[in-house]
Amino acid sequence: MQTSIKSRALKEFAEATATLANPAVEEWKRQGGKVVGYFCSYFPEEIATAAGFLPFRMRATGSKGTELADAYLSSINCSFTRHCFNMGLLGEYGFIDGAVCLSTCDHVRRVYDNWKWKVNTPFVHMMSLPKKVEEPQVGWYRDEMVNLKQALEKHFSVKITDDRLWEAIRLHNETRRLQRQLYELRKRQNPPITGAEALSVMVAGTAMPKQQYNLLLRELLDEISQREGNADYKARLMILGGILDDPGYIEVIEEQGGLVVTDMLCFGTKIMWKDVPEGTGDPLAALAQYYIAERPSCPRMFGDYPRRADFVRDMVREFKVDGIIGERLIFCDLWALEHYLQAKESKAGGVPYLILDREYLLAGIGQLRTRVQAFLETIRR
């Protein structure tokens, strides 16, 4: 499915997605700004913003191999972590001033240990992310945020006040509201943006200063909201999975005639479907409540599967989804069983579900095409 949008904003988003140190990051650095890289969408970006830093979601875009990383990680570790660490070892992440890891999964949490030993990033911090979503876990994560805030303040000699945190929360909520507006357009019978383009927009949101991003996103929304949309598709699809940051992967799916209209991805609805409640009390308590208990959760969060399944059902209904594609990075245990559960439930509800294992870098396109074509045949919309 070819894009027909000739938008300046979309071009900038696509460029930010296709590179690491994109022009926006370079400009930020030129003006003396600091960049804090983070490895998981549970990282409270708002704290970095409140410190005056640019939060940057770590990716391995442009990676060519894993040779250096393979001496430290192993062949049963997911290719995202291997490529990402390899880029760290190659010095491709020289533009970040700090890296924050979380105890996300067995692969990503070890990036912290290896990064700390082997990559020369001045500030490396780890957050203990709870595995449940109840009140004690919200309290635990709030304390982890206090630790992060204090560590940033100490290392970078900055002060992160409550006022600045609330300001950052309002700014990030604005980003989320705009991104939801974009998804609202995708509910249309003829969505004005493809799934691949939408993913570009979402990834760019984690790699640019939020004020600049929000301006561009508003511009894009103005441009496309009145636009004639895509009508030439065989099925409306939802993508479920983790760190899918390559629009090229969705392009392959859409070239076969499926239009991706929504998702539950780390670069998708998971990071913007809900807002942090705005107020005047303790901003870290509000952030902890949002990150642990409010937003759509990752399969690592035990006991929250029913809420995830409800979320998928709601998405299917709201976006008139004909079929679901579950993508998984090979060796990811969490998504292995999560897809099994979601697929079982989805099929019982009459929604076809295709599970696709993949490597981080786009490969095996022929096989991907064949499987998607076969899947679309089974949908027969």
């Binding site: 049963i76 067995d106 692969h107 595995k131 035990f302 060796f331 245990d333």
Partner: protein, 432 residues
């Protein structure tokens, strides 16, 4: 009639395992050696435990599923029958159906998922294990355990079984201990609510005191393993942790078993003898000494290379004794033990430094000649620490081998391939 058939189906694996243990008891009893006496005692308690669970299933009495790493002192104090659900695939090598079960699991799940987790998930989905009254889930140290318990909670036959899982902190500080102690208290409330069994703090104190004796003996025994030659070979580490944190928890018979083991080791140390024919290589096997490999690989190591597993992941423990002076101290002590002592949990739950600290300590304390990280296909966090482990060993001048295998499925890397890798490594390093 239909109900009985379902119950029989769910009990079949447990009953078959019980039959094999009973045969082992009979065989050991007929042998006069000290080794077999120790094995008989262990097998008898395991049998007794299986019988108790089977009785609960048949008579509809409450029992739970839980794990060695979830403060089993609490179940002992509550007189609550418990069964480690992951034991079935773990001891699968005893059952002739293991390969069939692995094949069954491969049809449902991605085969890069840990075999133990995959087979356990298959047992749930194929309805092959009895449904308990409540579950204390384990959601660490790996992703597999977390998502397995999510699958259990979502299965149509199991979704009404109440489940509690204590949330593991990533750190080892006082805040983490307090947090986890709070989780254990919530676990007690959960068990009281769902099983009808009550917590008796005086009984908990007794159980912990007995456990403290066992941990002291564990430490004493491990001191004896420093001797050259090492008095005992592979497999004892698994038994030690099984006694101190398995079905013997708080049971004076476990304490007696440990004393007998120490007596046997002391005798061998005095005689400057080891159970292995001739010790030439002192090896640190940094993972599970699996039953699946216990019949072919580990005896071969001793016989062919004189390579004795002097220490393994389950045998090594920091032996935290628990203060029983008050309730708060007991829960904090249980939290510390569950997080910092439990084999595999202590290494894999938190930062990679936990693996490295064990390597440094064990190499120095046990005169280790080489470290082997088997690289079990399910231990992804450990395998992501393999470069740091290698560098740590290099700093200490001790050779390190990373194999890459499945500890529970010989079809992943055949025993012959593993033997080849080990032989090449020993030869290249001038060992043995």
């Amino acid at each position: 009639m239909q109900q009985q058939t379902l119950q029989e189906k769910r009990l079949e694996k447990l009953l078959r395992e019980r039959e094999i243990i009973e045969l082992m008891v009979k065989a050991f009893t007929q042998s006069p050696t000290e080794d077999d006496k120790l094995n008989t005692d262990l097998a008898k308690v395991t049998l007794e435990h299986h019988d108790r669970i089977i009785r609960c299933v048949k008579e509809g009495k409450p029992f739970i599923y839980s794990y060695y790493a979830c403060a089993p002192e609490i179940y002992a104090a509550m007189d609550l029958p418990w069964y480690s659900f992951l034991e079935l695939p773990f001891t699968g090598a005893l059952l002739p159906t293991l390969q069939e079960d692995i094949d069954g699991s491969d049809k449902l799940f991605a085969n890069d998922l840990c075999t133990i987790i995959r087979v356990a998930a298959y047992y749930i989905e194929a309805d092959l294990v009895p449904v308990p009254n409540a579950i204390v889930g384990l959601i660490h140290p790996c992703d597999g355990t977390t998502i397995l318990h999510q699958l259990i909670a979502s299965n149509e036959n199991w979704r009404n079984v109440p489940m509690f899982a204590a949330d593991p902190p990533y750190w080892d500080d006082e805040r983490s201990i307090d947090y986890y102690a709070g989780e254990l208290r919530r676990m007690v409330s959960f068990l009281e609510e769902h099983t009808g069994h009550r917590m008796d703090m005086d009984r908990l104190r007794e159980v912990i005191k007995e456990g403290n004796k066992q941990f002291e003996l564990w430490m004493e025994y491990n001191e004896l393993r420093r001797a050259v030659p090492c008095p005992h070979g592979y497999g004892i580490g698994m038994q030690m942790s099984g006694v101190a944190q398995g079905y013997y928890v708080g049971d004076p018979r476990g304490t007696a078993w440990l004393r007998d083991l120490i007596a046997d080791a002391e005798k061998l140390v005095r005689e400057k003898r080891g159970k292995a024919p001739k010790e030439r290589i002192r090896l640190f096997w940094f993972d599970v000494v699996s039953l699946e490999l216990s019949f072919e690989l580990f005896p071969w190591l001793e016989q062919e290379w004189g390579a004795v597993i002097v220490m393994d992941m389950f045998g090594y423990c920091p032996y935290t004794l628990i203060d029983t002076s008050n309730e708060d101290a007991m829960f904090r002590g249980l939290a510390k033990r569950a997080l910092f002592d439990e084999p595999m949990i202590r290494q894999a739950r938190g930062v990679a430094e936990n693996f490295l600290a064990d390597i440094r300590r064990v190499i120095k304390d046990y005169k280790i000649d080489c470290v082997v990280w088997p690289g079990h296909m399910g231990h992804k966090d450990g395998s992501a620490s393999v470069g740091l482990m290698r560098e740590t060993c290099r700093e200490l001048g001790v050779p390190f081998l990373h194999i890459g295998m499945d500890l529970f499925n010989k079809r992943y890397t055949s025993v012959d391939e593993i033997k080849n890798k080990l032989s090449q490594f020993f030869t290249a390093m001038g060992l043995g």
